[in-house]
Symmetry: C2
Subunit: 146 residues, 2 copies
DNA sequence: GATGTTTATCTAAGTTTCTTATATAGTCAG
DNA sequence: CTGACTATATAAGAAACTTAGATAAACATC
């Protein structure tokens, strides 16, 4: 029989995941928001500053500073938007993509170690829940930019 | 048949959860780390500054500042540690506990809305995975403070 | 096609949240 | 009781934001 979802437990686990993830960026000398911008550019492609401002939920001047910093470090490039000369399209560079991949791999190594200490049954249950968890995240994003 | 866990998908979902959670604190006018300290005190009880320094992974002077700020706002109290006169035990107050509960409830309201838009089968699969996810978090914490 | 409004980004200045370096005071081992 | 260690605090500066306001291109309209 299907058991009803305990939202409070889910909130708790998500909170703990957040606390697990949040302290890792320090290693890279880039702040959480800066890495989040890089992640966005890696996954959804070139973006305007105004689009980044909306998705990262910080102010527009903050995004300008972050992009300037990333540009100095060679991780992104500002290019003109051919369709609108006011706008700037921020592109990730090879070096930037490598930083994102590196972080993803660090987390995978760490999680692989932890997952090996679970039982096979536990791993299967997590696997079975992943599509639903992904849908949850998508619903959040969809309702975020209305 | 039990399907093997895809670590990369799990990393991805956890990352998205982090991005979902991280921007909420701003509402409360308390930073992420400050709220994390409050959460720790609410769940594990009174702690020394040095214990908080270890679990929050910021420097000791940062914890001193955070506790001072929380104390000014009446959310925690510094009390002497009877067993060691150098040390300070930080206790959460009723007002502090209320802030933690309030945040937890905000998240629950938000997640309840989102979860209602999943199918019953999806909710059940998440529910079935919660114990395993909780274990994963516990393994992380256990290996963190060795 | 000049004009007012909106949009996209930048700059400047100040605040918050951290950091490193160092001081102070209590503990503990010999 | 002396030296080394531990727990916290203080001071000064760096990093990551914020608000306010400037600049320049786009767009709507008359």
């Amino acid at each position: 029989m299907a058991q009803e979802l305990s939202i409070s437990e889910l909130v708790e686990v998500m909170g703990e995941f957040t606390r697990m993830n949040i302290r890792l960026p320090a290693i890279q000398r880039l702040s959480f928001t800066t890495l989040s911008v890089l992640h966005t550019l890696a996954t959804v492609g070139p973006q305007r500053l105004s689009e980044l401002t909306a998705s990262e939920q910080v102010t527009q001047p903050a995004i300008t500073q972050i992009v300037t910093k990333l540009e100095r470090e060679g991780l992104v490039e500002r290019r003109a938007d051919p369709s609108d000369r006011r706008a700037v399209l921020v592109h990730i560079t090879g070096a930037g993509a490598a930083v994102v991949r590196g972080r993803q791999e660090e987390r995978m190594v760490r999680l692989t170690e932890l997952a090996e200490r679970l039982t096979q049954a536990e791993r299967s249950r997590i696997q079975a829940a992943l599509p639903a968890l992904t849908r949850l995240v998508e619903l959040h994003r969809a309702s975020g930019d209305e």
